[in-house]
Symmetry: C2
Subunit: 323 residues, 2 copies
């Protein structure tokens, strides 16, 4: 993994991936006690940064291999990112989703042209289903984070952050990143190392699901005791990846964690002050910027708002509680 792979991913993405804006509001600055900048990845195609990694991985495949198609496991954002990239390349995509995944996510993945294969979480062996389909059809598996080209794709957001920070004269700041398996955080960290060494990536997770924070502290990979029970479903993973963790460990500052209620509060503030729709897992970095300001250094902070694929009911709950 190096900066050249990220630059190459950005070149392959040109015209296909949005350069998302860096937004701000004086009202958020007042809450945080410093300038707050929000990288609005919820405005990315498919509603999350996952479109970057999906595009990078699919476009990096050798054409012969790509033509047979790709396969991914996902109940949400990664599914849509891979499906969109596959459709644009004119190749088949199979997405293995749990049968109890939210109907809208299944419908969206369908609508983006993918073949959706549903499995029963209790009765079926997801990996066996995937392996059989991949072998039968010659499909290439696109992992959600522990894949060099996926990390390179997510890192293209870091190239943009480095440029945008310069436009706003931000030489030194923490860059808070919503973190699941660490694909986005490690990609951004690599891009900042090369292009904006005064900026430091820091993972943000939901409280109780802070495997990356604990792994960074102990220096070895730690697991979450459970992956059920957080509103921030998009970023709850069992543990950091084997590829992502060494990068996070080498480059990131200490991890942060926020409560579900703080994530909901950040969603309501993003609604009022930025006119952005964030999902809970896409709001944890902004929540940390606003509500953990004692743990953040410097006179400016950048928070990556990683996604906005949220059900109307959950969004309405955030507004009702904190509107």
């Amino acid at each position: 993994m190096n900066i050249d792979m990220i630059v190459a991913a950005a070149e392959r993405a040109s015209g296909h991936i949005r350069r998302t804006p860096l937004l701000a509001s004086p009202f958020l600055d007042d809450i945080a006690g410093r300038r707050v900048f929000v990288k609005a990845e919820c405005l990315q195609h498919t509603g999350s940064f996952k479109a970057r990694g999906g595009w990078s991985a699919v476009s990096a495949l050798p054409p012969d291999q790509r033509a047979s198609g790709v396969i991914a496991y996902s109940s949400g954002n990664h599914a849509q990112g891979v499906a969109r990239a596959a459709r644009a390349h004119g190749i088949p995509a199979v997405i293995i989703m749990p049968a109890d995944a939210p109907r809208t996510k299944i419908d969206n993945t369908h609508a983006l042209g993918a073949e959706v294969v549903l499995y029963d979480r209790a009765a079926d062996d997801r990996d066996a289903i995937g392996a059989r389909l991949a072998a039968e059809r010659g499909l290439t598996l696109i992992k959600p984070f522990d894949d060099p080209q996926v990390i390179a794709g997510q890192g293209t957001a870091g190239l943009e952050i480095a440029e945008q920070a310069q436009e706003y004269d931000i030489d030194s700041a923490d860059v808070l990143v919503c973190c699941g398996g660490g694909g986005l955080t490690s990609g951004i960290a690599l891009a900042l190392e090369a292009r904006a060494p005064g900026l430091r990536a820091r993972p943000v997770e939901p409280e109780g699901f802070d495997d990356v924070k604990r792994s960074l502290k102990s220096g070895t990979i730690q697991r979450n005791p459970t992956t059920a029970g957080s509103l921030c479903d998009a970023i709850v993973t069992p543990q950091p990846g084997n590829l992502t963790f060494p990068i996070l460990h080498r480059l990131c500052g200490p991890g942060l964690s926020v409560t579900d209620d703080q994530a909901l509060h950040a969603m309501a503030l993003a609604f009022h002050r930025l006119k952005l729709v964030l999902e809970p897992g896409g709001a944890v970095a902004l929540a940390a910027a606003l509500f953990c300001s004692g743990d953040v250094a410097g006179d400016a902070v950048i928070a990556v708002a990683s996604g906005g694929n949220v059900d109307a009911k959950v969004f309405a709950m955030a507004l009702a509680r904190h509107g």
Copy 2:
């Protein structure tokens, strides 16, 4: 009024006004039966395009005159646009607001540094209060739309649309614009005339408050019978302006109108598909693009999403009805 004034306004705005993105979603294209592009002015500073006109008018004043301060009548978006521009120029701003304006709008205008003077709609003469304050303190009145520098400022959005349309290879399209007094629509129309003659501005209004549509049809200024009773409060005005109407009449295609419920539906779709927060009055152009597609020409349409300053309760209603 000419393109040079708009270009000059854009130069004065550089570094102070955002170049808002032009967004799209294949799901919206499917609904409309053509490509739909959304100019996301809700992401502008203060949450609406009014920051452009406020900046333009304040920055265009001769420094001596400006130093004494500015005054505006507004219950909403224009207030915030003028207040922000005044604060950045280090000059006083007085905003005359009805005492029954939404608390959040009064608070926001305060927080942007303005002196808010409240009046009683039933008992007080707003214009007399404003005239007295202006005379006493030497304040310059910034009108909400019928002012050449305000129109020039709103027209900077049109310069961006012309450039962005070229990036997406859109040579010919209707540009639908949420329309109250016509400041934004006339400014955009002038910019497009000079920079993208294949693009045609068209005003969109709420049904029952379609004074501009009727005025364009008859060729003379028509009034609305009432200005009360629409959810789209931001764009309900008694009649088109004396400066804006001749521009609209010369350059615009026929007006369109949508129901409040169509505006709410467009808000819900912008939430799901674009991750944008729109207010009802800021959603009517998108509503027309999606639900009046028989009245629109061409294989692409551009809709200006002019603002996102909406109460949480109204937004939750849009999601509950159309989520």
